[in-house]
């Protein structure tokens, strides 16, 4: 990569990181609709837009710099209390984020489309004109706070505003002084911040050049407490913190305080009075004497401390006071930028490196090669052991064997490490989808609660990236056609707001992602009618099909048309494409639906596509690899045990009937007639299939490489892999074979 290319890549990488954090924080803000916004959160969002602006300007990305600047400007007015946060402001910010994402995507392709340019320009105008100006007051509350000029001089405008807000609301302010050793002050300060943050707002952190010891450093934290002095003192026990109440003079005009201010005390050196004093404080092991000042009234806890929980409680109790058409509820609390601990924010930047996924692919290929060498070595060791004719010393043989085992262990660790490096939380996609859901729901006039869960489940980055489109398709269908209108829902006794949930869960080597709704469900009789009319199934087939099989017809190509939408609760719009996309990721999709109750789609996906353990099988003299994560068991079957039911071959396995597929037949190889077949029982989600092969050749770790050219579209094959003996074999696509098996059954029926 040349220097310009490297600079662009560096910009895109950091820009994307910023936009992702912006997205997370906006999502939290969206959840808090109707509640008072958390100032730290707003400031975090402002900082992200601010950083993006600076970064884009520095790298000559003018379109991004401009939009980031316009967003930052709005956010600045918001964080400085010059503007109130309303639905319109929030919606426009979310739209701007979408636009920033698109701009970054275009920048990475070194494109600049006119259409996006126009959208950005309209957005810019809206951002500039938005919002109602908050009422300004004549007096400056900050003037009532006793603070030395020297301290006041280092506050940024934002910090001044936050102080002002705290004074205006009558929040008790403190100077929290803590001295630490130079060697570990960052850890100490992080711990102190972690204790303070749940109790109020750390407005500013001032390093002091007047430390308590010879090799120490002291900090003054300006802190607005939401709890009583007593509680604060108690919670700070065990830290080197000393509390000094900052004196606030009463306001000239009456204000509406949220909580009583700290009692007035005479000013001290930095405009504060010690609440308690330790006789001779030892750093890091102070005692906590009882507070000398009378205890304050407990302050009202801020409403923003547990927004997610509150929102969820409101939903579960049927309380739907929000006027917003869409609410996004996250079942586990994401970590917004603003509330991240200091340690994390400072360290994550220095301890993380970004690696191009192609480099990881290249490394993975090298591991693949090493795995082959390992397998060859193992084979040689085995040959030496078996071949009595070779006059190798026993000791040498043992040594070789030991070293090979050692190599195997190290390779396992290397492989595991590389796989972990490719994993990213699936929540990255979820956050993006949440924003799209808002837009679509608004377009179609539905009231939706969008519930996200399991966002921290990790998947291979490539899979996560490919998931966005299929998931959007399914969710779009759920909003468009699954969820009924608020009136229709009320008419059948359901809550006005429809519930759509997106949930990920790890199950062994797979991740199951469920998209469900509590809408009208799929009318399987309607599905049957339509499939018959379109000639996708015959009358005889239709009569034999179970309800589940009928529902699965919605995945057939050609099933869905615009006219089918209204007839069948609208399911099935282009779901064949979704199914193919999931199939390309070696996954499988399954549908459940109950009329009037709702619909759920289950996507079962492998955790990674990079290195897999495979079962090597032989059929008619050819070799194939079967991914082991879909192999449930292996049976040895006599030809007489294979039955034919309704012209399909089946096996009886412990009381259940298992459809059988002969691999030789699938790929058109001449069939052999062995005395016994080996049957590989493969399964994904609820589907099961027996695959008959001639021989089992063992297990191996393989790196699956995609196929090019004509082989690319061959159904039932997901790629190729090199085996230890330097042979290249085809890897079976179990998901596609399961599909094939099921549809073959239908065709034959």
């Amino acid at each position: 990569m040349n220097t310009a290319g490297k600079a662009l890549a560096e910009f895109i990488a950091e820009g994307t990181e910023i936009v992702e954090s912006l997205s997370k924080d906006l999502l939290v803000l969206d959840q808090q609709r109707g509640l008072e916004p958390d100032p730290e959160l707003i400031n975090g969002i402002f900082r992200a837009a601010h950083s993006l602006k600076g970064l884009a300007a520095l790298f000559g990305q003018e379109r991004i710099a401009k939009l980031a600047h316009q967003s930052e400007d709005l956010l600045d007015r918001l964080r400085l209390g010059k503007l109130s946060l309303d639905d319109q402001v929030l919606d426009t910010l979310i739209e701007s984020l979408d636009a920033l994402q698109s701009l970054l995507a275009e920048a990475s392709r070194e494109e600049a489309s006119d259409a996006l340019g126009e959208r950005v320009s309209t957005l810019g105008t809206r951002l500039a004109d938005l919002g109602t100006v908050s009422a300004a007051s004549d007096e400056d509350p900050l003037d009532r706070l006793e603070l030395s000029e020297q301290v006041r001089a280092v506050f940024t405008e934002y910090e001044e505003h936050r102080l002002r807000e705290n004074v205006r609301r009558g929040v008790a302010l403190y100077r929290v002084r803590a001295a630490f050793d130079l060697s570990d002050f960052d850890t100490g300060l992080t711990e102190l911040n972690a204790r303070l943050k749940p109790l109020g707002e750390v407005v500013s952190t001032l390093p002091s050049s007047e430390p308590g010891g010879l090799s120490g450093i002291a900090f003054d934290l300006i802190f607005g407490a939401r709890v009583s002095t007593e509680e604060l003192t108690q919670k700070l026990e065990g830290t080197p913190a000393q509390l000094f109440a900052l004196v606030t003079r009463p306001a000239a005009a009456p204000v509406t305080p949220r909580a009583p201010a700290a009692p007035p005390v005479p000013p001290a050196e930095a405009g504060s009075t010690p609440v308690r004093k330790t006789a001779k404080r030892k750093p890091r092991t102070p005692k906590a004497p009882a507070p000398q000042t009378p205890p304050d009234e407990p302050l009202a806890a801020a409403s923003s401390t547990m927004p997610t929980l509150r929102a969820l409680e409101a939903v579960s109790s049927g309380e739907a006071s929000s006027s917003s058409p869409v609410r996004t509820l996250v079942q586990e609390s994401p970590t917004p930028r603003g509330t991240r601990s200091e340690g994390e924010s400072a360290r994550s930047l220095t301890q993380t490196v970004r690696v191009d996924i192609r480099r990881l692919d290249a490394l993975m290929n090298t591991v693949g090669e090493l795995l082959l060498i390992k397998a060859n070595l193992q084979r040689m060791v085995e040959n030496v052991r078996l071949d009595a004719g070779v006059s190798l010393s026993k000791v040498w043989g043992q040594e070789l064997s030991r070293e090979t085992r050692q190599l195997e262990r190290k390779l396992d660790a290397l492989q595991e490490g590389l796989l972990e490096a490719r994993m990213v939380p699936v929540g990255q996609v979820f956050d993006r989808l949440a924003r799209l859901v808002r837009r679509i729901a608004r377009e179609v006039g539905k009231e939706i609660d969008f519930i996200i869960g399991g966002g921290d489940v990790e998947l291979d980055k490539l899979i996560v990236e490919e998931l966005s489109d299929p998931l959007m398709h399914i969710i779009r269908n759920a909003i468009d056609h699954g969820a009924e209108s608020p009136e229709a829902r009320q008419a059948v006794g359901k809550p006005r707001r429809a519930r759509i949930s997106l949930h990920a869960e790890q199950k062994g080597n797979h991740v199951v992602i469920e998209v469900s709704d509590d809408g009208a469900g799929i009318d399987e009789l309607g599905v049957r009618e339509l499939a018959l009319r379109k000639g996708l199934i015959t009358d005889a087939q239709a009569r034999e099909m179970s309800r589940r099989e009928l529902l699965n017809l919605i995945f057939l190509p050609g099933f869905s048309t615009a006219s089918s939408v209204s007839e069948l609760s609208g399911r099935g719009v282009g779901l064949d494409v979704v199914k193919n996309n999931i199939g390309n990721l070696s996954g499988i999709i399954d549908v459940w639906s109950e009329r009037g109750q709702g619909t759920a789609f289950h996507l079962t996906l492998p955790v990674t596509l990079a290195i897999i353990r495979a079962l090597v099988v032989g059929v008619s003299g050819r070799t194939y690899a079967v991914p082991l994560n879909s192999v449930l068991e292996i049976l040895s079957v006599k030809p007489s045990e294979i039955r034919t039911v309704e012209r399909r071959e089946v096996l009886d396995v412990r009381g259940t009937t298992l459809p059988l597929m002969r691999l030789a037949r699938v790929f058109g190889h001449p069939e052999s007639h062995p005395e016994r077949h080996f049957v590989v029982v493969a399964g994904l989600a609820q589907e099961r299939l027996g695959i008959a092969v001639d021989e089992l050749q063992g297990q191996q770790d393989i790196v699956v490489k995609s196929l090019g050219g004509r082989l690319q579209g061959v159904r039932g094959i997901s790629g190729a892999a090199d085996l230890a003996n330097r042979r290249t074999v085809l890897v079976l696509d179990v998901g596609a074979l399961l599909e094939e098996g099921m549809s073959t059954e239908r065709r034959r029926a």
Partner: protein, 124 residues
């Protein structure tokens, strides 16, 4: 003789760019820090000839860092530049009042930064 320059900037890409500009001058070595706190750790470990800091940073803001440096007898004579996206007059004035000698608003040209660094270190 090698001059060490401390760069305090939370944006990685910006930090790299400033460091690259500084290191393009022979005899200069850039020491970088991604936060004010990290900078406080670095200050006693090196002798810096110049400090370049951003204002808007998550833990300790640039103004607070400057105040700390200027109150510290061992550090107070080190020239300080502010390089920031913040174009606000009040912040500029405060930075300069606290003792910063230059205030560069992003996007700055690497050449202008280079010129200033050379001037303050009295390099040809």
């Amino acid at each position: 003789m090698t001059f060490k320059i401390l760069i305090v900037e939370d944006s990685r890409a910006s930090r790299e760019l400033i460091a690259a500009t500084v290191e393009s001058i022979p005899g200069l070595e850039a020491v970088t820090s991604s936060s004010g706190l990290e900078a406080l750790k670095l200050l006693p470990r090196h002798v810096f000839s110049l400090i370049i800091t951003d204002i808007n940073m998550p833990d300790i803001n640039g103004l607070e860092l400057i105040r700390f440096i200027k109150n510290n007898p061992a550090l107070r004579d080190t020239p300080l530049f502010i390089v920031t996206t913040e174009g606000r007059e009040t912040d500029r004035d405060r930075g300069l009042a606290l003792g910063a000698v230059e205030y560069l608003v992003k996007p700055f040209s690497p050449r202008s930064l280079e010129g200033l660094v050379r001037r303050y270190l009295q390099l040809a």
